[in-house]
């Protein structure tokens, strides 16, 4: 019994050609956007109107429906970037660069949002906008890393060269992030224990968990939609740059 790998190869090859990639994934953007919109509508309705206020935190608990998904995305986007970086370095997959570049500002935005909502939430619950607690601090460091990567992308003229250098730095960052997280946790004394997934089961009531999960998927799909759209934009931007250079060289090919 032999397994035919040919279709998989062609699928892979088709994805690795920027034009083909755009052609293949363009039809996905609109349905994904619609799905994201529906999830947001349902999640926000549940979160804002249909779920009860929490026992101790009251209505402020609703910030969590934005805070937790963005905090999750801040790490998920970095994982996406790290996998793309591997794709650039190991397989030299042309779309991996594009995915890496598209993800960096999105990751920075979600991380900033997580910090912003975290500090809004911190004010009524801890009595301060900013607390040097382990999680907020490591999220802040993560934001700095994202912004550094965005700056590094911009510092290069040649995007193909930039891709491989940024990939090296992204992976260095990926190795370091757990160390940073560990060191910051070690350093801080005040931090909340993880409360969504615990060994003894969720401690939150279902009325809060349902909108949380819906919002969690809404934000994840928002990321996927934006990532695809940003990748398409980047492919087009590169094509324009190439055409401009050719035109500047007086070369009509």
């Amino acid at each position: 019994m032999t397994i035919d790998t040919t279709p998989k190869m062609t699928w892979w090859n088709r994805l690795s050609h920027p034009g083909q990639f755009v052609a293949l994934t363009r039809p996905l953007v609109l349905p994904l956007a619609l799905l994201t919109g529906v999830l947001f509508a349902v999640g926000l309705w549940y979160g804002l109107f249909s779920s009860p206020p929490e026992k101790y935190m009251g209505d402020t608990v609703r910030i969590m429906y934005v805070h937790v998904p963005t905090a999750w995305l801040s790490q998920f986007v970095y994982a996406t970037m790290a996998v793309s970086a591997l794709g650039t370095l190991v397989w030299r997959h042309p779309m991996a660069d594009v995915s890496m570049k598209a993800a960096a500002p999105l990751g920075a935005a979600f991380t900033a949002m997580a910090l912003f909502t975290g500090s809004l939430w911190g004010r009524p619950t801890w009595g301060t906008f900013w607390e040097w607690d382990g999680r907020m601090t490591s999220t802040l460091v993560l934001l700095f890393i994202y912004l550094g990567i965005v700056a590094l992308w911009r510092a290069f003229d040649d995007q193909l060269r930039a891709a491989r250098v940024v990939a090296v730095f992204t992976l260095v960052g990926a190795v370091n992030i757990p160390i940073i997280k560990f060191s910051v946790d070690w350093w801080s004394t005040l931090h909340q224990p993880a409360s969504v997934f615990r060994a003894d089961g969720p401690t939150m009531p279902g009325e809060i968990l349902t909108p949380l999960f819906v919002m969690f998927f809404a934000f994840t799909f928002l990321f996927i939609t934006l990532q695809l759209a940003a990748m398409h934009t980047e492919v087009r931007r590169r094509r324009i740059t190439t055409l401009e250079r050719r035109a500047a060289r007086g070369d009509a090919r």
Binding site: L89, V141, L142, F144, I145, L147, G148, I149, A151, L152, A155, F156, D157, R161, R164, V165, V166, V168, F169, L171, V172, G173, V175, N176, I179, I180, F182, S183, V184, W186, W187, T189
Partner: protein, 221 residues
């Protein structure tokens, strides 16, 4: 191995003849440490308490200053191309440079740290702890510095970018470095911080030449 020593001795020679580069760096280190009392007031108890942090910040900033010299001039004058065609791997060249960077940018600071200890009213115990933690932690800063310098060497505006990139990565070095001096959680925690610092330095020094060499090779290609 021959090539490794050639790179190391050239780097050290260049720094020693650099028209007082090392002296400038040491002065920067001492001055950064010495201006803090003007900002926070001459309260000796307070100074003694924050002294480890000040010394570490001063060392951190001083080491960032020297980064531009790591690969920038070599790229400008074409030596980097020769390194890529050399008979020794680029990672060995980078390793030699990391060691040279530590010898010329970190060791002088550690030797000058008694001055800061005196100015900041440190007692003998915390001074020796500071020396130990700087000895253990600065190699990691040199290694991260090499990565930062390597990923920015092919860019035009590398100067300020490298510190921005590596400052977040260096957070654990600062945490464990200061933790090793001023234990908030007792001597056990200080012991743990020293061990973690040593482990971190070891890992960064071993891995950074490969990462930096990769970044240089692909950035120039």
């Amino acid at each position: 191995m021959n090539g490794f020593w050639s790179v190391l001795s050239r780097e050290i020679r260049l720094s020693l003849r650099g028209g007082g580069e090392i002296l400038t760096l040491v002065l920067f280190f001492v001055i950064v440490g010495a201006v803090v009392p003007f900002a926070v007031g001459p309260d000796k108890a307070l100074l003694a308490r924050i002294a480890p942090g000040i010394v570490w910040i001063a060392a951190f900033l001083a080491m960032l200053l020297g980064l531009e010299k790591l690969f920038g001039p070599d790229r400008a004058d074409g030596t980097l191309a020769l390194y890529r065609l050399a008979d020794i791997p680029l990672s060995a060249v980078v390793a030699a440079k990391v060691i040279a960077h530590w010898l010329t940018a970190a060791l002088p600071l550690i030797l000058a740290s008694p001055v800061l200890a005196l100015l900041l009213a440190m007692d003998a115990t915390s001074f020796w702890r500071t020396v130990l933690s700087l000895l253990l932690g600065t190699p990691a800063l040199a290694g991260f510095g090499a990565i930062g310098a390597a990923v920015t060497v092919a860019t035009r505006r590398g100067g300020l970018l490298a510190p921005i990139l590596i400052a977040p990565l260096s957070v654990p070095v600062l945490i464990f470095g200061v933790g090793a001096i001023a234990p908030t959680g007792g001597p056990d925690q200080a012991q743990a911080a020293i061990l973690l610092l040593a482990a971190l330095s070891l890992m960064v020094v071993v891995l950074s030449p490969f990462a930096a060499a990769l970044a240089i090779d692909w950035g120039e290609d």
